[in-house]
Amino acid sequence: MARIIKHRAVIQDNWQLLEQESGGSLPSDGDVVVPLELWMRERDTLSSRLGHIGVWLQTDADPSTIAQDLARFEVIAVRFASFTDGRGYTLARLLRERHGYRGELRAIGDVLRDQLCYLSRCGFDAFALRADQNPEQALSAFDDFAEAYQATVERPEPLFRRRLQPDPQRKAA
């Protein structure tokens, strides 16, 4: 079992991630994150099995293909082949802001301490860091910047609108 960061704390993770072409042996129960292609192919079988279901996407996935299914997922994971692949950031915002996904959104793959702040602003709330990273030491990254100019998933109003609000609200935001 792996340790991941969720909601800014390090936790034990029980989800099993099914690789792209794993030969198909789906565990009969337990929580599993399946590749998008498998979900598209075997939606009904997957929905009827015991255990929770999640789906993982490549960064170039089109979120509208699963827009109707979002309520069925406990987890959506986005796999970064490289942390410099910015498409995953847009994908997260689209899932959260356009399609209203509320479940866990997890960054997996080449995920490092120094991207956590931006990833989190784009809507990721869980992070399976690359194996060489220390999750405890990475937690401080969320506080690298107290403010952001932009509208983000964390704070849907941009700074220039929040400036107009009375102080207490700004702090609560």
Partner: protein, 581 residues
């Protein structure tokens, strides 16, 4: 100057702390070079041919005397006593030590400066007209809009890892002095005419007649695939500026190519999709963002405006008797005035270009002593601030006409009074092979050799307006494609050669130069330039016809023939001109 408020300051301070920690981890071996590279690039730090190079942001080219003094201090304390102003209106230090960079950034933060996003595949420094706020043909003060874009793009969480770098330029006036057609996004301020809103199906935008908006151009660029951009929206009401930019960036971030860095700029995406299809995707994306929380509000535009310091202009007569007397009495001063002094919207004031293009100095280079002196002069003559132009010169924007002669006398001994603005020797050049690890060839000795060849001032003025731009490689930092004459350093079996193009131009009638033929060895370049000039002088219809106009009229063939010797006759002044003479 835009003055930071406490939040602006905190963000810059936090960036310093973050980078200090990243550098520490890198030096301690906890952060590998591969993992560190994108992080340091987002903070302007390259590892160059001989040492790191740190590029410091000068947002839209505006810098105060206090900031310039700090740059001079950094040049002395951490570098070799000079700095280089780039065509991105930024400033570069070529010899800092990696472990001292966090200290340099902390010193910069104390004067409200930073190196955020001066490199890397992110949104870079937004550039604009160096006469913003003082130009007579101004529609809006572009500094305000640039600052709004600066804040929006600074540490934007979604757009830090784009397929490639991304550059935005804003023009606030009728003439385009910001090369907006060759940027990833170019914005032209406009006032709406009747029908602007309705035509775009934007009746709810409140685009009342005379309201400010922008023409939006995408997909221009230089580099190895030079392209003039496409206008995808003729009038975007100002409120929608940020959401529309967000839509463009999002389409680019999702669909721009990531498999080949030479095909990763937005211009390739726009070309491959076609501008119409790209525009359609942007509009589709924008339909979700339009009217959302990032829509600008008047309070914010006014707040930003209010944080800019403004000179307190005196009421002065439009003509200054002392200036006129000096112009009549002193030919050298008059020459300088003709080339380096520019009209101002307030009567009795002028804008002045301090040339960083004196023969023998690398274009854009300035010493610590010069920076200190310039800072002092800016305080005495021009409200304590100055601008860096994309032509790598410095501008004093608010000089009293009656002070021009005194200012000229003070900048002459500093080597800043070369009367060559707009002329051939006002060469734009990247640092080239002397500094840059990407360069195929040196640029500085080429610039100097050309300046030496054309050191006769009367001849230079006779040649008239001419932009000569030099890049040391295809990355085109010297903007050679839009030089009336462009020179590009190329590598031929390990030797430095120079390919020459003519017919490029910046501004409203932007065009890309055409290569005249095979490249030349370095020592032949000045002679080739001279031959091009000879053809021009022989062919021009009058002194009013500039080099670029002549190239457009007669094409490149006559130039090519003469330079490559297919026509051995010396060009002769044409009959029309002889008749006039």
């Amino acid at each position: 100057m835009y003055r930071y408020d406490e939040i602006d300051q905190r963000i810059v301070d936090e960036r310093v702390s973050q980078f200090r920690d990243q550098t520490r981890r890198h030096l301690a071996g906890e952060l590998s070079e591969d993992d560190f590279r994108p992080l340091r690039l987002q903070n302007g730090l390259y590892i160059q041919r001989y040492a790191p190079m740190l590029r410091v942001a000068i947002p839209y080219g505006l810098v105060s005397s206090a900031q310039l003094r700090r740059l001079a201090h950094i040049a002395r304390a951490y570098d070799k006593g000079y700095a280089h102003f780039s065509t991105r209106q930024n400033v570069q230090f070529n010899w800092p030590r990696l472990d001292e960079v966090p200290e340099i950034l902390a010193e910069l933060a104390e004067v409200q400066m930073h190196a955020i996003q001066t490199s890397g595949n992110c949104i870079r420094n937004t550039t604009t007209d160096h006469f913003a706020g003082v130009a007579r043909d101004e529609i809006v003060d572009s500094f305000v809009w640039c600052e709004l874009i600066r804040q929006w793009s600074t540490l934007h969480p979604e757009f830090a890892y784009l397929p490639r770098k991304f550059k935005i330029a804003v023009s606030g006036s009728a003439a385009d002095r910001a090369a907006t057609w060759v940027h990833d996004i170019g914005l032209h301020a406009r006032r709406s005419a009747e029908g602007d809103g309705a035509e775009q199906g934007a009746g709810v935008d409140g685009a009342e007649q005379g309201a400010v908006g922008f023409r939006v151009i995408v997909g221009g660029g230089l580099g190895r695939t030079p392209i003039v951009g496409h206008a995808i929206r003729e009038f975007l009401p100002w409120r929608h500026l940020l959401t529309y930019l967000e839509a463009i960036l999002r389409v680019y971030n999702r669909y721009g190519r990531r498999d080949n860095k030479y095909k990763a700029r937005i211009k390739i995406l726009v070309k491959e999709l076609t501008p119409a299809v790209f525009a359609h995707k942007v509009e589709e994306e924008w339909s979700h963002l339009k009217g959302g929380p990032a829509t600008l509000i008047e309070e914010e535009v006014r707040r930003i405006e209010g944080r800019f310091t403004r000179p307190a202009y005196a009421r002065l007569p439009p003509r200054d008797a002392f200036l006129e007397a000096m112009l009549a009495a002193d030919k050298a001063f008059a020459n300088w005035h003709r080339r380096n002094v520019h009209p101002h919207k307030v009567p009795g004031y002028a804008a002045v270009t301090l040339s960083l293009k004196r023969t023998g100095a690398a274009p854009g280079d300035v010493s610590a002593a010069q920076m200190d002196a310039i800072a002092g002069l800016a305080e005495r003559y021009s409200s304590g601030e100055l601008r860096v132009s994309h032509e790598q010169n410095l501008i004093f924007a608010d000089v009293r006409a009656s002070d021009l002669h005194a200012l000229w006398r003070e900048i002459k001994p500093l080597g800043l009074a070369a009367p060559n603005i707009g002329l051939l020797t006002n060469i734009i050049a990247c640092p080239g092979g002397d500094f840059c690890s990407l360069a195929n060839a040196k640029t500085i000795p080429v610039a100097e050799a050309i300046q030496r060849r054309f050191d006769d001032l009367d001849y230079l003025h006779d040649i008239g307006e001419l932009d000569l731009n030099i890049s040391g490689c295809m990355n085109s930092c010297g903007h050679h494609h839009i030089g009336h004459i462009g020179i590009l350093g190329v590598d031929k079996q390990g030797e430095e050669f120079y390919q020459i193009s003519i017919g490029g131009a910046q501004g409203a009638d932007a065009s890309l130069g055409k290569v005249i033929g095979p490249a030349f060895a370095r020592e032949r370049v000045p002679e080739v330039i001279e031959k091009l000039i000879e053809v021009y002088l022989a062919e021009r219809e009058s002194e009013e016809e500039r080099f670029i106009d002549a190239v457009r009229r007669i094409g490149i063939e006559p130039f090519k023939d003469y330079v490559y010797g297919t026509n051995h006759q010396t060009p002769r002044r044409n009959s029309r001109q002889l008749a006039v003479a």
